[in-house]
Structure formats: C-alpha cells, structure tokens
C-alpha cells in the first residue's frame, strides 16, 4: 500500500515537473515567436516603405520617360521642319536657270506645302503690272495682268506683306473674289526691300485642312529666297544673252 502510494505520488510529481517544463518551454517558444513576429512586422514595414519608395521612383521615371518621349517627338518634328527648309533652300539655290528655279518653287508648293494650285508673278520693270510667269492648276488667263494695289494679290505686291486666308494683314479687308476666290496664301517676293513678284497659293490638297507652322516658314522662305534666286537667275541669263550677243558680234555674225 505504501509502495503504491509512493509510486503514485512520484508519478504525480514527475507529471507536474514535466508539465511545468513543458509550460516553460511553451512560454520560451512563445517568447521567441513573439520576437520573430515582431521582427517580421518590422521587416514587413521596411518592405512596405521600400515598395512605396520604388513605386514613387517608378512614377518619377515614367514622368521622366514621357517628358523624354515628348522631347524626342518635338526634336524629330523640328528635325523634319529643318529638313523641309533645307530642301527648299537647296532647290531654290541649286540652279542658275530661271526656269529651274520656277520649277523648284512649284515643287516646294506642291510637295512641301501641299497645294496643286499656284501662280508665280513677276513685277514689270515699270512696276505697273504683275506678269504671270508660271502657274499650275489654275486658269492662267484669268490671273494674268494683275495690277499692284488691286485685289488680294495686287495689294500684297503693293504692301510687300504676305496674305494668309483668315489672318490679319494689309489684304485682310479685301474680299477674295473671282480668280482669287480660293486663295490660301500670297507671298510677296522681296529683294533688298523691293517687291519683285508674288507667289500665290490657292486651294490646298484635299487631305490637308489648313496651313501648319512649318508652311508659314516655307512661305516666308519663298518670299525671301525664291525672290533672290529668281532675281539672280534673271540677271545671269540676261548677262549670258548679252555675252552671247557680244561674242556673236565679235565673231562677225552680227553687225557691230
């Protein structure tokens, strides 16, 4: 009976000790887990912050990328515009033939500005009339013999200022009627401040709704550079004719 009682109390003591040890272990484990959870929470917070920082950086990079893209497109457009001006300039000054320069003016208006209806006038020596020297897509007969100060083309020539449909200028108050009905732009050809002629651009191509900024630059370039090219080729051709006449005279083909 005593042995059995000792066994039982020993058993109870061992169970109690084991339970206490198990409880201690559990508490220790719980403490470790609490520490781990705390560490993980700290790391999670750090990751959250890092993610936020990266997201902010990505947003900034995206803004930067868009800005660069816009800048690239802008530069590309500027490049194309400069190319247009370069090509126009190269064509206008690439020949000593008056006819070639006129052809270049036509090609610039048709292919770079976008109109297949144009007319080029040169001022008469006595400055009383504008002579139609070339045209395309318009009724030439109705445009010949424009007088300075009359109609839009004439006003443009007299004032030495460009006309663009719908914009202000010396010819803004003049109604575009008759052969000038479809006039889109009219640019005086000016050499050293003297109007030597006019380039008139009529209807634009169907798929081109209006003039763009580069077209205004091309028109301005025509006003200056086509004027110089047409004037200098006229001078070259006249002096060539004179030289040929002198040479023929020197050869005895003509009476001196």
């Amino acid at each position: 009976m005593t042995d059995a009682g000792d066994d039982l109390s020993d058993y109870v003591r061992r169970v109690r000790e084991n339970t206490q040890k198990y409880l201690r272990d559990l508490l220790a484990e719980n403490e470790k887990l609490c520490a781990l959870v705390h560490t993980l929470e700290r790391e999670l917070e750090q990751h959250r912050k890092e993610r936020l920082r990266i997201e902010e950086r990505l947003a900034a990079i995206e803004v930067e990328r868009r800005a660069y893209l816009e800048r690239y497109l802008d530069v590309e457009a500027q490049n194309a515009n400069v190319s247009n001006l370069y090509v126009a300039m190269a064509r206008l000054h690439g020949s000593t033939s008056h006819a070639d320069v006129l052809r270049a003016v036509h090609e610039i208006v048709v292919n770079l500005i976008g109109s297949e209806e144009l007319a080029v006038f040169e001022m008469d020596v006595d400055r009383t009339g504008l002579r139609l020297v070339s045209s395309e897509g318009v009724d030439a007969a109705s445009l010949d013999g424009v007088r300075p100060g009359v109609g839009i083309i004439g006003t443009c020539a007299q004032a030495g200022a460009a006309y663009v449909a719908g914009q202000t200028g010396p010819a803004a108050g003049v109604d575009p009627v008759g052969p000038e009905g479809n006039l889109t732009a009219c640019v005086p050809l000016v050499v050293e401040g003297v109007v030597t002629g006019v380039v008139a651009v009529f209807r634009l191509l169907r798929h081109k709704p209006s003039l763009e900024p580069i077209d205004h630059e091309l028109l301005a370039l025509l006003g200056n550079q086509a004027a110089i090219a047409l004037y200098s080729t006229s001078v070259i051709e006249r002096s060539g004719e004179r030289r040929s006449l002198h040479m023929r005279a020197a050869d005895g083909a003509l009476p001196r």
């Binding site: 490049n79 090609e107 292919n111 169907r206 798929h207």
Partner: protein
C-alpha cells in the same frame, strides 16, 4: 562591326521630293534614287532594294504601272512598296493597293509617318 544598312529605293520625278526623302532616310538606310519608272525598274532588278518608295504621278510610266511591273520581277516580287502621292483620295489608294503596293503615304510627307511605315513593313516596328 555594324550590320550593313538596308537599301531603300526612292522613285519620284520631283528632285525636291527625292532630296527630302533622302535627307530623312540616309542616316538609317543606303539610299538609291530614280527619277522615272524605267530607271526604277532597272535599279530594282540590279540592286534588290529592301523597300521602295514610289511616286504615283510620274510622266511616261506612272507609279501604278511601275508597281505592277515590279511585282512581276523576281527581285521585287515581295519587296515592300510604299506609294507616295499628293492624291490621297480613296480611288488612288485602292488603285495603288490593287497594283500590289504594300502601303500608301500622302504628300506633303510626314517624316514620322514615313519612317514608322518603313520600319513597320521591314518588320522592325517597336
């Protein structure tokens, strides 16, 4: 070593357009030029360009006819041909595509549109 440039054949009777296209494309491509349909057919057969820009309205032989003939040549049977014209109306576009053209661009040429189309037809679109 850089890869050899691809060849682009520009066909137009207008010197202005040829210079314009050349200025836009010469950085990326070797540029070949022809001012008539007959010259274009000869250059195309000899040089085998990778892409062709072909004007629709040309004297003697128009771009539609040149395109049709190019589709009969072994050298250009499958070459991308982009027609270029001031005539942007549907009838012209349809005639160009019916003659075998791959694409169509209107004048005045938009530099970005032109280069994008060329890249696209060469399978190098971004």
């Amino acid at each position: 070593m850089d890869a050899p440039k691809l060849k682009v054949l520009l066909v137009d009777d207008s010197t202005t357009v040829l210079i314009m296209e050349e200025v836009l494309l010469r950085r990326k491509y070797d540029v070949l030029k022809a001012t008539s349909g007959a010259a274009a057919l000869k250059i195309a057969a000899d040089q085998r360009p990778d892409v062709i820009l072909l004007d629709v309205v040309m004297p003697a032989m128009d771009g539609i006819e040149v395109c049709r003939l190019m589709r009969g040549l072994p050298a250009t049977r499958f070459t991308p041909i982009i027609m270029v014209s001031t005539r942007g109306e549907m009838a012209t576009v349809q005639a160009a595509l019916a003659s075998g053209a791959t694409g169509f661009v209107t004048k005045p040429i938009d530099a970005h549109q032109l280069t994008s189309k060329i890249e696209h037809y060469l399978g190098r679109a971004p």
